[in-house]
Amino acid sequence: MNTVKERDARRPAATKSKPKPIGWQGFTLDVPEEWDLTGFSGDETSGYLRVDDSEEQGAEIKWVTEPAKAKKAPELDARLETYFGALRRTARKKKIDLTTKEVAPPKSVLRDDRTVKGFQWVGDRKAFGAIWFCQTCKRVVIVQVLGHPSGRGSLGTVANEILGSLRCHGDDPAWRIWALYDLYTEIPATFTLVGQQLMNVYLRLSFAHRAERLSVEQWAIANISRRDEYLDRWLTINSKAELTQARYAAAEGEAQGHPALILSGGLGIGLPWMQVPQQLSRFQVPATRFSAVAWECAESNKVYLVEGFRTFRSGDSVAEVARRTRCHR
């Protein structure tokens, strides 16, 4: 059952513009419309994420997963002191005065499964942050919202809303939200991110689970890049993921209320079959079945392609991923 705190925390950030969801490695947060992902590293176990407005405000998340065998909960005081130490060293190098302090964590951050501590620091920038250990996902998370040292632009309010909206795991443990720029999709939680291409008019997220692979591709300015070309022909030229290694038959269908191409088939003849012995040598059932859903959304002027290779035993998740991929709000 959801607590009142949890329900409050799920409310979108009440900023001037409508909030935009960001989803990465199991984290989800609501940020102002003009904020976007600007940096990331690591993986689900440990990593870093930065989202900002490209002017002066931004949010940073750092996380590390505790070993499953750890008997004791991590000491947040010590972790926070280590973090402050790193900040002080950087400030000394830059010859900046730095003030750090522990504060009561914002109420919006509190959850039943979290041990939380709040902090603030002021140097060349001002930050409102929190460090917590989540018992559900076993991650120690340091999150901070940064802005001008004077706190202009309602930094405190923005920080409170963003910190409150940040969730380190979703309601549905079987699915994970991936949302960046204009792309919003949900991927089975068993799949991990193995590659990405984040270009100006083209986004690709590629995932893998054992031998199975899954990719979501998005092209912007579809009206110009595709023009009147048939979608299947256009995709064979422009796709950079699983479609390039597949042979398939196309059928008509529907996705997100748009006419869609439903592709199904298998590995393409020749080189793509080279991966089968590799997968067998790793004691994996080879992923030889191909399926994909592609559609053009006129409202967002984008082309979407969800595609994947699966084993003959596993169910097809491509259709469900396509169903969970939002193309227009």
Partner: protein
């Protein structure tokens, strides 16, 4: 002094321009470059076709005479490039142009901003546009300044 000298050598002696200043600046087409919208292929919408005059100094004239160069060379812009070019009238700021591109092509703001600024930089390097310094009212930062 040495540090300043080295800095200038590294940065090319160019002043640093902030993002806010770039967004507030107003690109203006080079008046010496005549252009028109023309349909290059029958099935495509008309795009901007620029006629860039060749160098007309003594050296340029000599080279043109030897190699029989035409008086101008044509440069065909793509569809979005043509729209941006048309908006470079000295009245629209870079931010206004970005907004129009976002609306017209339903692009993400940051994606559009990166593309438009890179494109304008390329045009400026080729001396096809100049960037007039704006009044600084375009962005939140400059509003507060």
């Amino acid at each position: 002094m040495i540090v300043q000298f080295l800095k200038e050598r590294i940065t090319g002696g160019k002043p640093k321009v902030s993002r806010a200043e770039v967004l507030a600046s107003k690109p203006l087409r080079n008046p010496k470059v005549p252009w028109d919208r023309e349909a290059v292929r029958p099935d495509t919408p008309p795009v901007a076709l620029l006629r860039i005059p060749r160098r007309s100094d003594r050296f340029g004239n000599a080279v043109a005479r030897i190699f029989k160069l035409p008086d101008y060379r044509k440069l065909e812009l793509d569809e979005i490039g043509s729209d941006v070019w048309e908006m470079c009238d000295g009245a629209n700021s870079v931010e206004a142009i970005t907004k129009k591109v976002v609306e017209r092509y339903k692009l993400n703001r940051r994606q559009a901003e990166t593309s438009v600024t890179a494109y304008l930089r390329m045009l400026a390097q080729r001396q096809l546009v100049i960037l007039k310094r704006g009044t600084g009212t375009a962005t939140r930062k400059s509003k507060k300044a």
